[in-house]
Chain length 231, copies 6
């Protein structure tokens, strides 16, 4: 971890470490459910985080934002820190459904190669964002405007939808939600996720051929031992 | 009813009675709102049950699953009990939003002719399920994995989203939600639903011609009697 | 305001004032987020009001409905009061998720030129409504039927999703939600919204050219004054 | 109504009309449920408004506050407008659970004879408020601090927990929640509430003597007519 | 089970079987958590069911009520069916937070020996009910009135807060919530609950003496086997 | 921070650093709202964390628990790590309302000097816990039992109700909720909290003497500058 305490305000960390792009892209291909399983069922954001449109599937290095109540000032600060392949991830100091982000910010973020936004708050201009194909996972869609009065931070660890996210952690997001992978563990998680995919491909073929999970996973004996009765 | 108490665990009932396929298919055509009205406004599941994609419209005989907390073992057991035209319906012993069901289970269920899933819990791999055109009505979309440790039951009566469902009851589901029809009442409900549809077709023509509900339903006198004032 | 108290029941106000159609159409083009900002960040309905399908963008004069619990009788009364370009807007006397509105009522409303429905309650037949392209913003989708027993009112001020709406106020709705503009302020709000759009177009060009919000809005000095540290 | 639009900001109305204290005190004695019934089942605030301690039972003239997001500045302005027997009532421009009010503000309000607070937001220092016997009905208890940056209004009509409240309306609050009575209707509502109480006292005596509601209200015939079967 | 389908309307079942009072009273003494464990962790109502005051601890035979939306007529019918030691339990046909029950109905129910009410809806007059020491577990406290227009049923199986309850099942309720025990299983569940209590008394003494659960339950080896590391 | 990643499972950190007891006790006296303000409005847990009984006011060093879904095994492990003056604080890997903690665990924890529990999940036996005067702040009260199958961790950083908590951080809790103070900042925060209290005492005296906040805080000029109008 970065050594900076979550909750620290007034700070912009400029040079964060990122995982290799190849690993990040591999995680995107595996998807949220597989990555979540591959890393031992940790890292999932709360299930209230939903995509503004269906079908997007991304991964990227987290540029994290800690935002004061109803204040989106730090997003402008964060955009300057973006590199191609990054994902913006915003946590709030206190819960809010206000619309912190819209099409102008998305235009700016996309211009720097940003792949999407994960925001534990509200978003607006969702029709424009959908047309721009800028994916967002959010807690709410709300047009409520925000102000620019108080400092938060950029690239400090933040709590977002029940999970701690460090700057540079990998954000994986698709229609199932959002999963965080620690940067240091990314290579190992990808390897396990790939193995899991290979295993699942074999299983899928057997299911398609009509075999049952009861037989593929050899469950019948254990079920009988537990006392399952058929009548 | 089957004589088995809801909440019974450790039991698989193998031979359940089903309604005639023609009746079931007729109920699917009528849709949830019409069927709900036709049977006297009963049988609706709670409104938090939403489809993972828009446009699906199904009916089928319920193969019911009672699932322990965060444990999807019984789904494998249930799939063996599926016949073509059935719908899986899962209730939990305690509320959970975990992802009990994903694309491999869907592959297996589809192979046996299953028409969809109604689950008072979470589902995952929704992008794959959408591509496979396997419709699901669920309380949540969440990638959170489940375990296979504890027995529940298959084909016992279960409470699902505020309604009791018996195995073999007809599950009708579309974009409006989910409605349950008792197997014994299915033929009569279909007849009433058809009559309602015929009646509505006539009404629709009159509405399209510009007549008002106030006149079609002869409401003006009763409104005046109740004291409605126009100013 | 009309002089009638919100909450008044048993009353239908027949001749309400409406804004000019050109102004109303202009507000629809600007969209909810822009209009909300242009009028000083007021008038937004609660964020639980969501469209039944994506992509609709409307504005119209509010024909307001005050509805008793689980009772949709007043909608029939309201439809007679509709003029082309109006929007139905329903508030309830006590919260309800029942399905007050479906395809037959939509047929009747469309026949009179109604542009859509905003309802602080439930709606049903959403597949039909989607096919008919009759947009609805609602708190819930639920097939639960309603009755026709008790009087409410039409065209009295109603509270809908946290906002007071007067008959003839302009309802602006799109994928971001719903915003209310006072009839008396509509022209001025449109002017400000147009100015805001022009301003945003210029900003968008600069963002697309790679400029940062930090520079476009000249934020760096103020951030430094507040004590923002870069490390 | 006052002629000022709900949602107006930047305004303090100094001389509001109030109902007679005797009428207000009578409404407090009747309590929320009786008053709500007596005025035709209108005026109830949403059921998420709960008292911070059990047993308080108050009524008073509403001094209304429209508060910007996370900003409690207007409460200070409102306190100057308080007269003995008033109740502070706060609605927000956008939903918030922040703690707008605590023990210092309560000290100031009590000093001017304020009887309590109804707030569609959060409150803090609830232990102190309980010891001071200053009753509060709120949406949340939260210590989250607020700022003093933006103007709202005092004594304009506000929407609070789903109801419009005019300055000078009577706020009745007890363990059942909060009910609003229009100032102009207060005398008539009190009369009906008194009559209702007298009627209920007679009913209570009969219930205590063992009579059934089925007989007291002569329901048996109507139930039979509707088709109720006893088996 | 009774042979009557849950959801049946228009029916009053007069002679229901009840468990022995001694068994029922024993279950009350054991309390909800112990009874829930003793019967294999089933029968708990949803956790949104909360007592209107702390400290009540009851058990009784369920006299069940199926109530139409916003309609409390069937409660009057149910009260006639009460015997000393019974508990009223109400499920709704569609979710509602309206106040179905107040002090007059409580007066009548207490007169017949009713021990309390479990209601998957709202209750009012909670200050009076508290003074009368008539305990209620409910989903909401709300003064909203209900009507008497539509038939439901009394003493048919009902779904209440996620559980099916048969007439005559034992309702156990305390500060932890509500648990249902099947009438046929009551004696056996009481026996197991008593055994559990005895066992817990021994454990409590050891905990009070400073022993750790790690040792009392002999967990250290199994934790080490699972790989727990101390650093 | 400890150097251990939040979310790490299978680990027990035995020797954590704690703040001085005098500082901790001082923070308890100041209370949640004051401490939250004194440290710059950070550290508050979500407002759904509520005390099981009113009036408790504690502070202590956090012994943190990361708990798997529906599994309370790690609480036994954590109790061995308790020292007098500590507070147990539990975060879950996935959201749960199950009852992880009851009177036996409380007996054991109290025996070791534990001052209370903060749990982002459910608790049971609340009547016993109240009698024992063992305070708990929880997300839910639910009797639902948990299992002992899977490893979590003790004394690693955990996310609890939207905040990251490190082992040894100070947990301050009262009727307003829960606030976390970083161990390293505790002395400084206490100093500021004391200063704030002294300042508030002076303010309280002036409010009691009838002065207005408008004058005490010299707000009139700034309000006028912002354009506030009195009518």
């Amino acid at each position: 971890m970065s050594g900076v305490q979550p909750g620290t305000t007034g700070l912009v960390v400029q040079n964060i470490e990122r995982a290799e792009q190849e690993i990040i892209d591999g995680l995107a291909e595996c998807g949220v459910a597989t990555v979540h399983e591959a890393q031992g069922r940790k890292g999932l954001l709360a299930d209230y985080m939903t995509p503004i449109y269906a079908g997007a599937r991304i991964a990227g290095s987290a540029v994290t934002i800690l935002a004061p109540p109803c204040d989106n000032w730090m997003i402008h600060v964060a955009i300057e820190q973006l590199q191609a392949g990054d994902v913006l991830l915003l946590g709030t100091i206190t819960p809010s459904n206000a619309g912190y982000f819209g099409d102008l910010l998305a235009t700016s973020a996309m211009q720097r190669g940003c792949r999407g936004l994960v925001i534990d708050a509200g978003v607006r201009d969702v029709r424009d964002l959908t047309e721009m194909e800028f994916p967002v996972w959010s807690k709410a869609v709300h047009a409520q405007g925000t102000i620019k009065e108080t400092l938060g931070s950029v690239n400090v660890p933040v709590v977002c939808a029940d999970e701690l996210v460090n700057p540079g952690d990998i954000v994986v997001a698709d229609d199932d939600g959002v999963c965080i992978v620690r940067r240091e563990e990314a290579a190992e998680v990808l390897e396990k996720a790939r193995a899991r995919e290979a295993n699942e491909a074999g299983k899928r073929a057997r299911f398609e051929a009509g075999e049952l999970g009861l037989d593929i996973y050899d469950m019948r004996g254990r079920l009988a031992d537990k006392g399952l009765k058929y009548v």
